[in-house]
């Protein structure tokens, strides 16, 4: 963004405080423009003819440093790029890294369909939502344009996920684009050898394109400048991903390009592609899959906006999805939830009373483990300054006194509200059992160390 204070954005707003945007004042709206939680289009008066200049000026001033590029169409379209900072704590990162998994045109049809289904169907539950994969990269191994186009057609018939079409032969890409251009695939790649032909394809089919210059930032910039000069700006840059020996160089190239982009070098301020599947060129089996995940972590943290992987084993996908969520979670979201005693489902006088902390992640994990298994209970959320159970026991933020205080200030008398007069401590807080018994006079049971085991625990231990 070219501006960084709400006042600078306020200058260009209608300044009527009409409230149509849902904010009390234009100034409040301006501060949300700066923290990027609202868009210019959210101010209805600004979209009118009389404010057209203001609208355009603001849009330009607020445009993110790194250009946004959209791949695919409709509900499954993904947007990458759009960052304004180098460190997530400075604001947040926008548009999570797009994860594409590869298939190739030498797979037989059944194999192809089943792999694409695996990619589009994988989902991992995580605090109230599902983490999923984003795209399918189709690679041309056959060297044959028709065979590649046929594979692309099969993939399109199987999924609506966005596609990356991979071949360095413009004729092959052309054949695939005939089939797939309406889906706005990303094409890989324009190089120093084929860039004129690929630029021609981009002008014809209006699709985003990857520029590839392995280990050569001058050439990468040169490609980007050249494409921009003919109006092609939906670009993704691939400086090359070296899996082992050249990893340091590749890492450095990502740092350099992104630093330049955030510092205002617009010539090179495009989304970046990493290719962790290069791990499979040097390793195989579990070692390759592990190393691929290692590369995913490195380049998700340091500036990869889209990447292509091979392994769809759960032990690859789970850490990959979670590291991406780690990096792209908005650090401005609260660490803590409200403390108190809450009903989950419709608890009766015989239902259990569980204790947990007010660390948001702990709370949401426990809450979803309980409610997704249709368990009725009371959940006592103790104010531990937003620290998880194990660390809070060690650090003294979860104590018998704190637990008693949580029940007292919620006005929840366990003996009065239940027939059993029992509370259940998290397994990781077992050492507090005696103290809690003394402080509250209640029966104290020790629950499982992981709330995922609550259903089994209730079956074997809860007889009230």
């Amino acid at each position: 963004m070219k501006i960084n204070s709400p006042l600078q954005a306020y200058e260009h707003l209608p300044k009527t405080n009409c409230g149509d945007c849902g904010e009390p004042t234009c100034m409040a709206f301006a501060s949300h423009l700066i923290d990027r939680s609202r868009n210019v289009g959210d101010c209805p008066p600004l979209t009118g003819v009389e404010f057209k200049d203001n609208y355009d000026t603001l849009t330009d001033l607020l445009a993110p440093e790194i250009r946004e590029v959209t791949i695919g169409t409709g509900d499954h379209a993904i947007t990458i790029g759009g960052d304004d900072v180098l460190y997530r704590h400075k604001l947040t990162f926008f548009n999570k890294t797009a994860f594409a998994y590869e298939v190739c045109d030498t797979m037989d049809e059944d194999e192809l369909v089943s792999q694409v289904n695996k990619i589009q169907n994988f989902s991992k539950f995580y605090i109230g939502d599902f983490l999923t994969l984003d795209a399918v990269a189709v690679r041309c191994l056959s060297g044959d344009a028709d065979q590649f186009a046929n594979a692309v057609r099969t993939v399109m018939e199987t999924t609506d996920l966005p596609l990356i079409l991979c071949s360095l032969d413009a004729t092959v890409l052309d054949a695939a684009l005939e089939v797939a251009s309406s889906r706005r695939p990303l094409i890989y790649a324009a190089t120093t050898d084929n860039w004129r032909e690929v630029a021609g394809l981009v002008l014809t089919y209006h699709v985003p394109v990857v520029l590839s210059a392995p280990g050569d930032l001058d050439t990468l910039k040169s490609l980007a400048l050249t494409f921009a000069s003919i109006g092609i700006r939906d670009l993704v840059l691939d400086p090359g991903t070296s899996p082992t020996e050249g990893l340091r160089d590749s890492f450095e190239n990502f740092l350099k390009i992104r630093r330049a982009g955030i510092e205002g070098q617009t010539d090179i301020a495009y989304p970046l592609m990493a290719v962790p599947m290069t791990a499979w060129a040097e390793l195989d089996g579990v070692s390759a899959a592990y190393w691929e995940s290692v590369l995913v972590s490195i380049f998700t943290i340091r500036y990869g906006d889209i990447m292509i992987m091979h392994s769809t084993e759960p032990y690859s996908l789970l850490p990959e999805l979670h590291i991406r969520d780690t990096v792209y979670t908005d650090p401005r979201k609260p660490v803590m939830v409200d403390s108190g005693v809450f009903e989950i489902g419709s608890p009766s006088r015989n239902s259990p009373v569980f204790i947990t902390t007010n660390f948001a992640l702990t709370y949401y994990t426990v809450e979803s483990d309980i409610s997704s298994n249709d368990i009725d209970c009371h959940l006592c959320v103790v104010d531990t300054d937003g620290i998880g159970v194990e660390a809070a026991v060690a650090g003294g933020q979860l104590t018998a006194g704190k637990i008693k205080e949580a029940f007292d200030s919620a006005g929840f008398d366990v003996r009065e509200k239940t027939d059993h007069g029992t509370v259940i401590l998290p397994g990781l807080a077992a050492r507090l059992q005696g103290d809690v018994e003394d402080a509250t006079g209640l029966d104290v049971m020790i629950g499982p160390p992981d709330s995922g085991r609550i259903p089994q625990w209730l079956e074997s231990k809860w007889e009230k």
């Binding site: 997530r88 704590h89 991992k124 539950f125 041309c140 191994l141 991979c166 004129r196 630029a199 021609g200 002008l203 014809t204 280990g215 050569d216 001058d218 050439t219 990468l220 040169s222 050249t226 003919i230 400086p239 082992t244 990893l247 340091r248 160089d249 890492f251 190239n253 390009i257 330049a260 510092e263 090179i268 499979w280 060129a281 592990y290 290692v294 972590s297 490195i298 943290i301 340091r302 084993e313 759960p314 032990y315 789970l318 850490p319 979670h322 590291i323 780690t326 650090p331 979803s368 483990d369 997704s372 298994n373 660390a391 060690a394 650090g395 990781l428 077992a430 050492r431 992981d450 995922g452």
Partner: protein, 451 residues
């Protein structure tokens, strides 16, 4: 009758026409671009321009196909030779030359303190090796400044058998009852740079082992291995000061890392013991940068701990269980140190073993009904520990406390690779001045066959 078609439609139509063999077109046709009054902005004009170029090119091709001499018309749109690129007239013949340049970060002027752990005979100890942490002048692995010391791994050893994930336990089954043997195994078999002896049996709610007895275990471990060690308590804030004091005394002169001092306990007593017996101290806070500043300040000002004797543990939360907080907290601390916060520029340690608390690392299957299959857990655990550690390595952690041998091996391999061989001798800086590199080591993955 008038039919309105867009330029793009016309272009598309012509494209189809081109594919017809022996097509006959009769009469003239004319293209008129009408300004609709809405104003044609430069973007639209540009787009129209491309479409027009394509149309012209296609008409030319079409005319040629129909047998007209297009030489004279063609020259206006030359070159049209490439069948793939009938629009190539818009595309320059040569790439626009460019040089990429980017600077280093000027405000990273203040180095991270260097802390040496372990004392050899020349320093009054009995260690054969020492470990040096910190000393950075940039974020980890950045080209701005070479990273003087590699990352190090200390493997956890406990003074009694404890519950652990099956994937971890299978590696230690034979040594669970004997901390000295356990320590030997992690050094000789699993490549640990250091050993952490956790005196957890001292916890009153576990076995309430007396401090004096626990100190003997520390002596045994020091006998068994020649690497520097970390001495950890049970985490019980009431008992730990006494336990760590006795242990520090038993290990006098060996320059151990005493783990740890925390604001919620008698940190002064622990600090005093570390100082008296010549050890470094681990300053542990919980995901809070200001608390970390406060504790470091108190250790220095109130307890007289020297700067070269402080390592920080700002808390490690596992991947999926708060790693986002841990990551940003550590990255903020490191950047604050680099730009000159003298209460935060110390090396950092991570309890990476916490990754094994994540259910994904040890549970046989997902407890959530709608989840996709999680697959075999023996592969999930180590990569969970690796990913947790690696993220924090990138944020600024120097020392990792870990458990699974595979995780240790992979984390060391990747951090060494990122640091670059010979970086300490200035190799990293040299590479920083080139524009890219490593091209030869980038595999051609597009056409690569995978078994």
């Amino acid at each position: 009758m008038t039919t309105t078609i867009t330029i793009a439609d016309l272009n598309k139509w012509l494209e189809d026409v081109l594919e017809l063999k022996g097509v006959k077109i009769e009469g003239d046709f004319e293209i008129e671009l009408v300004d609709t009054g809405a104003g044609v902005d430069s973007g639209v004009a540009q787009a129209v321009g491309y479409e027009a170029i394509q149309i012209a090119a296609r008409l030319t091709d079409l005319a040629g196909a129909l047998g007209y001499d297009v030489g004279s018309i063609g020259s206006a749109f030359a070159p049209l030779a490439s069948p793939v690129s009938p629009v190539s007239s818009a595309i320059p013949q040569e790439l626009i030359p460019a040089t990429f340049e980017v600077g280093t970060v000027s405000e990273w002027k203040h180095g991270i303190e260097e802390v040496v752990l372990g004392a050899t005979s020349s320093d009054g100890g009995t260690r054969k090796k020492t470990v040096t942490l910190g000393g950075e002048n940039a974020l980890p692995f950045y080209f701005d400044s070479p990273m003087p010391n590699p990352n190090h791994v200390s493997i956890d050893v406990f003074d009694m058998p404890i519950g652990m994930a099956r994937a971890v336990r299978t590696n230690y089954e034979d040594v669970l009852e004997d901390p000295a043997e356990w320590a030997k195994k992690v050094v000789s078999k699993f490549g640990a740079d250091m050993v952490t002896i956790h005196l957890i049996s001292t916890d009153p709610s576990i076995a309430d082992t007396p401090a004096r007895e626990a100190a003997k275990v520390v002596e045994d471990v020091l006998q068994a291995v020649d690497v520097p060690i970390i001495i950890g308590g049970s985490g019980n804030p009431d008992k730990d000061p006494e336990v760590l004091e006795k242990a520090a005394e038993a290990a006098e002169g060996e320059r151990c890392l005493i783990a740890s001092a925390n604001l919620n306990m008698d940190y002064q007593r622990i600090a005093a013991a570390a100082k008296k017996y010549g050890h470094a101290i681990l300053s542990w806070t919980q995901l809070e940068i200001n608390a970390q500043k406060e504790l470091n300040r108190k250790l220095m000002k109130q307890c007289g701990i020297e700067r070269k004797d402080i390592v920080m543990d700002p808390t490690t939360a596992a991947l999926g269980y708060g790693l986002d907080y841990a990551y940003s907290n550590i990255e903020r601390i490191r950047i604050a140190g680099l730009i000159g916060d003298a209460e935060l520029n110390f090396p950092m340690s991570s309890g990476t073993t916490n990754a094994w608390g994540a259910r994904e690392s040890w549970m046989a299957a997902s407890p959530i009904k709608d989840d996709s299959d999680w697959g075999p857990r023996e592969y999930r655990g180590p990569i969970w520990e690796i990913t947790t550690g690696l993220a924090l390595a990138l944020a600024g952690v120097d020392l990792f406390m870990m458990m699974h041998p595979t995780s240790v091996q992979v984390l060391k391999a990747v951090t060494d690779m990122l640091r670059g061989a010979g970086a300490g001798e200035g190799g990293g800086e040299g590479e920083g001045s080139t524009n890219g590199g490593g091209a030869a080591k980038i595999p051609d993955w597009v056409g690569m066959a995978i078994e």
